[in-house]
Assembly symmetry: C2
Homo-oligomer: 594 residues x 2
């Protein structure tokens, strides 16, 4: 089952839809021509296909190994693949040039991230967690810590992790108990247990730099008493060489439903030496920088697993001969037709394709805005920041829900074969399921959206977003191929606006109304966002056709988008109706009635 | 995580909603008082809770074992639990008294089946497959075969299986290659390979009676050349004692995503001695008897796994302390509130509860009609047969889809804990997923519904069903607690009628339209059927309250149904819109465009 990174789909969106060449005036985009995008994505896709994808399924079957003393080794061949990735320079693609990074925009990193997560979700978490720790240190640590740690983390020579969860708390981090005792020399001694630490220990790198949320002795209880620490596996000497082993270890691996190739560790800190990142008591604020990036990465991961699952389903549907087309044999010389002739199999493949390609576009579109946050044009930067705050929970929750949905459709296309571990459909389904949970469950994302992101700055972000869609609809309204796309978008936006109004009117009066509506509202938002992506793609594709292109890619893109409009957009009204039913039916029962 | 069989919910539906005491004039119901129902269900629930449930999770972790020579052993303790079940007489509950069965109606077996499948889906397949094989033999085999095999199969002393699938064919059984050579003495020699044979080999019983679909040498190709054979693991002597080992064996076990406790076997037949069941060339017709029963059983299984998953989620949501209620602390003395206070957690639990209890009712309602097929009143029997034909694909597909959906919601309630194998949420999710696939994928069910069941007898079944709902709405219309239920049902039925008309008008012109609409149509049907169940339950519950009952069970039932009406019924319109979009957007792309 050969995975192929979706290079063409992504270059289409970056180069043709977003017209990346228009952005050369933005910081970091000076050298980013569409030619360079194509070149980097082709190379990146090749690397994902040839080096990462082959180790994915064997790694799922083998899993990681824990040995006495907390020694963890990855599946066969994973260390070598990791080293090949470091040697090829991929981890440093978007890193800060001041610390040896290549300084390319995040949109490129996001594209490469989609390729690697599709090739192997479990593998991509090793560089993914390092990038998260890098971002946390980069945003808030002292220059000294940054100079000491970022170059080797950026290159991938060292790994990195995020240590938040403890047995008694995941979502509610105010209950963190891990403590930090200041030593008077600028260091702290960190003690406590962290669980579910992805890539917490492994044999791929010489050192692993943990970022750890802990409470300084005597600090206030709750969120405000938390600080963030840098705690390396091996202490680093002044000359950058590795010194003593720090007193921390992996006490065990979690047995999980999926992502078996990633070591999910119980981490034990026993007076381990750590350094404060940023200020005391600002741990959660510092962590949020990382978490927002990690949430985008999780949305990307869920969707990318969907991409791989979709491809596997297509291959199976073309190969498997079973039954005859309802409109007469399509493979008359064979014993049966390939199952791709059956409308219900088509439905599953088209639905998968429509979500996958719409989601890929949405990830890139938001990634562009992540880059534009750094714009020197204040209006551009403000809008980008507003969008990123508003849309991050949607990228995370909607795309992971749909990634899992696509993986389930892909298994269904496989029939009984898909349920056996001989095919990869099971791995995709099992791997995809975690993305709906970690980095804040999708329910937490929905609460973040309605409780924090929507009302921020008097609702400025959503008003800007509605204005953008209105302008788009006004510009592109009228007859033509794109009409159903623009009409569908306008209709979905109207429903989203209706839902937003409902939230404003009813969420204030009773906060439970906001909580009760949150998931359906997020989904209504998600389907509208993807409708916007599909409208843009359809218009660009039609332009290419009008300009004389005979590449069937464009007609396929339009046909896939049409599926989205006809067969997915009806979700919008359904979500609106459900959210408007309010909290009463949800909260009617006392807890003991369950 | 202690599973509790939903005894109260099922006795409520059987005794109070269906008013089972009304049916004493029907064959097999003479002794079935509501008191007896309660007694049998309480005993059955206790058996499921105490004997079967405890082996479920350990069995998932351990799986089955295959050894040289095709010897298969189940997980630790499973053989003992199976023997306890046989000793307690449960397998013979609904068996034909002529062959030692207790002759109780299917509705009781269906209730006990829900208990055991919830306690352990993998375990329940051992008696489940035996019951399937029993039904196939009972319906069509000679009296000689029946006398020889049914008593011990009915008691559970011997196991049974269904052998259909081969590597090149599952759905499309016309391609079966396993051959049968007549020996001139009434026996056949069966040779070939069958795959995915559930309970194909194990150590629980002295003998296993395989029913095998094969092609008699020289028979026509395709479906019409198939015959059904009885092929015992050990030949049975005239006196009923076991004779020689037959030349068949389990060549290996399938590695699957779930139902690890059930041995899914590759079966190798090498001139094994077999006996014809029914007539040559009637294999598929004979198998359909079994398959219809197996499809009901699969719907039941998927839903029952959802029941168990829901219970686990409730337990977790009450125990896990995380965050505070949006409307102020509910557990002020604790470090945080139990997560059941959060509206989005409530949403997941209420959705699970509404599907689980609605589905349980629908299973029992159809089970009653399966019993009424045997009525001496021709009108009653005809209606029952029409309903069973029409509704079997809906029970199978809608309830397994929702069982999986519920299992996924239950995992989500667990957060990260649910993704570890320490909790049972993962097993439920993995176990539930197969029910959407086997016994005919849910897509095949949808095709069966629109292609065969709907048009049969000029649409008589659906017209009767619509008439029943219209009469119900007319009888119960008007103000009262039940108003939203009856109005919701009437509205859903209108949409289902609209969808049915669309199918009649568009499916004839282009069969792809029927195929393209089939899954959404089936789901529209499913949500309407559950709305009907909820309306009946709400009315009965309100009657009990009006009659002075202070049991909170009734108010809880009504509140749960209200969730269904407000939060699930909006699916109806969404499915109608999607199905009406037709085949064009599905079939637009050539296969190579995927």
């Amino acid at each position: 089952m050969a995975y192929k990174a979706p290079v063409r789909d992504l270059t289409f969106f970056i180069n043709e839809v977003l017209e990346i060449d228009r952005y050369t005036n933005q910081p970091g985009f000076a050298e980013l021509s569409s030619d360079l995008v194509t070149q980097v994505l082709e190379e990146g896709g090749k690397f994902a296909d040839e080096v990462i994808a082959p180790i994915n399924h064997p790694g799922d079957k083998e899993g990681c190994h824990w040995a006495d003393g907390g020694v963890v080794t990855g599946p066969k061949g994973w260390k070598e693949a990791y080293q090949a990735m470091v040697e090829a320079g991929w981890p440093s693609l978007t890193g800060d040039p001041e610390y040896g990074g290549q300084g390319m925009p995040y949109i490129l990193g996001s594209a490469f991230g989609q390729f690697t997560a599709g090739a192997s979700a479990a593998f991509s978490m090793y560089p993914g967690l390092t990038a998260g720790a890098y971002a946390g240190i980069h945003a808030n640590a002292s220059d000294e810590l940054k100079s000491k740690y970022l170059p080797k983390m950026g290159s991938g020579e060292w790994g990195g992790t995020m240590n938040l969860t403890e047995p008694q708390c995941g979502t509610d981090l105010g209950m963190v108990r891990t403590k930090a005792v200041p030593q008077g020399d600028g260091t702290y001694k960190i003690s406590g247990q962290k669980i579910w630490i992805s890539a917490g220990e492994h044999d791929f790198t010489d050192n692993i730099i943990h970022t750890v949320l802990a409470r300084v002795e005597g600090a206030v209880p709750g969120i405000k008493g938390l600080s963030l620490f840098l705690v390396p596996k091996y202490l680093v000497n002044e000359d950058g060489s590795l010194g003593e082993r720090n007193s921390l270890m992996c006490a065990g691996l979690e047995h999980k439903m999926g992502i078996h190739g990633n070591a999910t560790c119980v981490m034990q800190y026993d007076e381990a030496v750590g350094w404060l990142i940023g200020e005391e008591g600002r741990g959660m604020n510092n962590m949020f920088v990382v978490m927002n990036e990690a949430r985008l990465g999780t949305g990307l991961q869920g969707l990318a697993i969907g991409t791989a699952a979709y491809q596997a389903a297509v291959e199976f549907a073309k190969d498997r001969l079973q039954g005859r087309s309802l409109t007469g044999p399509k493979n008359p010389d064979g014993p049966a037709d390939p199952i791709i002739v059956h409308p219900d199999v088509r439905r599953m493949l088209m639905e998968a394709k429509a979500f996958v390609e719409g989601g890929q576009a949405f990830i890139l579109w938001t990634a562009l805005h992540a880059d534009l946050e750094k714009s020197e044009d204040e209006a551009v930067a403000t809008k980008a920041k507003d969008y990123m705050a508003l849309l991050t929970p949607i990228v995370k929750a909607y795309l992971t829900d749909k990634g899992f949905h696509v993986a389930s459709l892909a298994m269904q296309v496989h029939g009984g074969s898909g349920y056996t571990e001989h095919f990869q459909a099971s791995q995709y389904l099992r791997d995809a399921r975690i993305t709906m949970i970690y980095e804040g469950t999708n329910g937490v994302q929905a609460l973040d959206l309605v409780g924090r992101k929507l009302p921020a700055n008097g609702g400025r972000a959503i008003m800007t977003w509605f204005g953008e869609i209105d302008a788009f609809v006004a510009e592109h309204g009228g007859e033509g191929t794109h009409k159903p796309f623009v009409d569908g978008l306008a209709e979905a936006k109207k429903k989203l606006q209706d839902g937003t109004m409902w939230l404003m009117q009813n969420g204030m009066a009773n906060p439970d109304n906001a909580g009760a509506a949150s998931t359906d509202y997020l989904n209504l938002f998600g389907v509208t966002a993807l409708a916007y992506m599909w409208a843009q793609m359809a218009i660009t594709a039609q332009k290419a056709i009008d300009a004389g292109s005979e590449d069937p890619f464009y007609a396929t893109k339009i046909a896939t988008g049409r599926y989205f409009v006809e067969r997915v957009l009806p979700d919008a009204d359904m979500h609106l109706k459900k959210m408007k039913s309010g909290a009463e039916v949800l909260m009617a029962l006392p807890a003991e009635a369950f």
